[in-house]
Amino acid sequence: MTAIALRDVRLTLGGRVILDTITLDIAAGEFVGVLGPNGAGKTTLMRALLGLVSADRGAIQILGRPATRGNPAIGYLPQIHAPSMAARLSGWDFIASVVNGHHLGLPLTGRAGRHEIERALDRVGARALARRPLVELSGGERQRLLLAQALLGNPQLLLLDEPLISLDPRHQAEVIGLVKSLQRELRITVLFSAHELNPLLGAIDRVLYLGSGQAALGTVDEVITGPVLSRLYGSEIEVVRIKGRIFVMSGGHELEGDDHRHDAHAPHAHRHHHPHSGHA
């Protein structure tokens, strides 16, 4: 069974081509890491899978059906926002808003909804966290809670947009381990976008690398190579492996780690179309 199928897809934002002639298949149950420089189209691709951005050309199929807005088979974890008044609410109230959130009426959860929330919270071990207000949670705790939310409605596909942003290495590993166990236990497909490949190395089945409007999908050994990345970055790239870690270098300068710190250094820093505060 194919979870995601793209055929000759072109995605544009404000007249700018973000991804072009993309054809790929992701099998059900796969854990795919989505990488690439800022503006390469990681978020845009996810929004296209969600039906929020429509393809100018080509076809996008999710679990055998064309991508549409409000697809209940997809669980989505958007990028973190800046704290707001909403962060004063308890984790429970925050994530409960998704239950039947698109139906009119009073925001009462009901018994079935409460059970579903409890199940999802238990799955990620966030039951106790959910009683606290969001502002008091650490980044890792917040991501755990939002993962529970993404599981509501029993999705078959999880789209996780940069869930590691602003987490320290220990919490990064924790989030990845949690997602990995969810993917195994629930047999769901996971698309996990990130700035750095190394934390994901043990967890992902394949990597989807975006750059210069193109995409390369394959195992780490197939994709993270000088020739493939040189094509995606549009410049000479060298891949260096040290003690099981992989470094993507351009002219003796490491690329991935720097991307989110210095946007201007990213070779193809297209402007992002929607506000997000995750990147410094």
Partner: protein, 276 residues
């Protein structure tokens, strides 16, 4: 004197104008408390303020052409609310433009008053409210408008909450952010017009923002928060009217003072959070 306080409380309600004032203040406080909670949650409190300023032009314009200022307020705030909703986030970032439009709105309102000097005394009432002058007919109008606002809010509250808390996710689940933004600002516009009857256009913050912000400091749950916001707004309105009756100071002063005092008290109290 000793028995005075006890016997004078029913005495206060023996006056028609006080009964009207209490009825009007209660209706408006309930609506303002509920709508205000979402306004604060969405960080759109400035919109309430802006709508009130624009409403002043509507009210004075209505007076100029011989229509009740309440209807001028309602129509103009509603139009402005819908306009702001359709313009969406683009507008929210243009604080200079908004500030200038607001200044112009108040200026125009002043000009209208200038042309119709017979009603110049209404300026103070419009700006700062005069709840003691509310008549029975206005109470009924407020009740109708309030019912519309609160019923509309109840109908859209679930998707509105979802869209307010997690816009990206709500959008992905098929909730139209634009639709709920427009509907909500229309409700805010109606509520602003109602609040202006009690505390005037300059002080709508007292009823719409103060109780809601205090409630949000006191509880982390949405339902409790909305109810608490309504209770606080109503308590502030009642206490404000009572204090005004006995001190002869303006009601709007008392309501704003109570609103600020309760907000400060709510901030002093550390939220009951259990650190694991």
């Amino acid at each position: 004197m000793r028995t005075g306080t006890i016997t004078r409380i029913p005495a206060m309600l023996e006056y028609d104008f006080m009964r009207n004032a209490f009825a009007a203040a209660t209706i408006v406080a309930v609506v303002a408390g509920a709508v205000g909670y979402f306004l604060v949650l969405r960080s759109q409190t400035f919109a309430g303020h802006a709508l009130a300023h624009v409403g002043f032009t509507g009210a004075t314009g209505a007076v100029l052409i011989g229509v009740s200022p309440l209807w001028g307020l309602v129509l103009v705030t509603l139009a402005a609310g819908l306009g702001m909703g359709f313009m969406g986030e683009k507008l929210a970032q243009r604080d200079v433009a908004i500030g200038l439009v607001l200044a112009l709105a108040l200026g125009l309102g002043l000009l209208f008053l200038h042309f119709f000097t017979a009603y110049a005394s209404q300026a103070a009432a419009l700006l700062f409210g005069n709840v003691l002058a509310v008549d029975a007919q206005t109470v009924w109008t407020l009740l109708a408008l309030g019912a519309i606002s609160i019923v509309l809010l109840a109908i859209i509250s679930r998707p509105l909450l979802f869209a307010s808390l997690q816009p990206e996710l709500a959008e992905a689940k098929g909730v139209s952010l634009r639709l709920y933004s427009v509907l909500f600002l229309a409700i805010v516009a109606l509520t602003t017009a109602e609040c202006a009857q009690i505390v005037g256009v300059l002080l709508v913050f007292a009823l719409m923002v103060g109780p809601a912000a205090a409630a949000m400091r006191m509880t982390h749950a949405v339902t409790t928060g909305v109810l608490l916001s309504i209770v606080l707004a109503t308590a502030e309105a009642w206490l404000g009217l009572t204090l005004a009756f006995y001190t002869d100071w303006p009601t709007s002063f008392w309501i704003t003072a109570l609103s600020v005092a309760i907000y400060l008290l709510a901030n002093l109290r550390r939220p009951a959070a259990v650190r694991a």
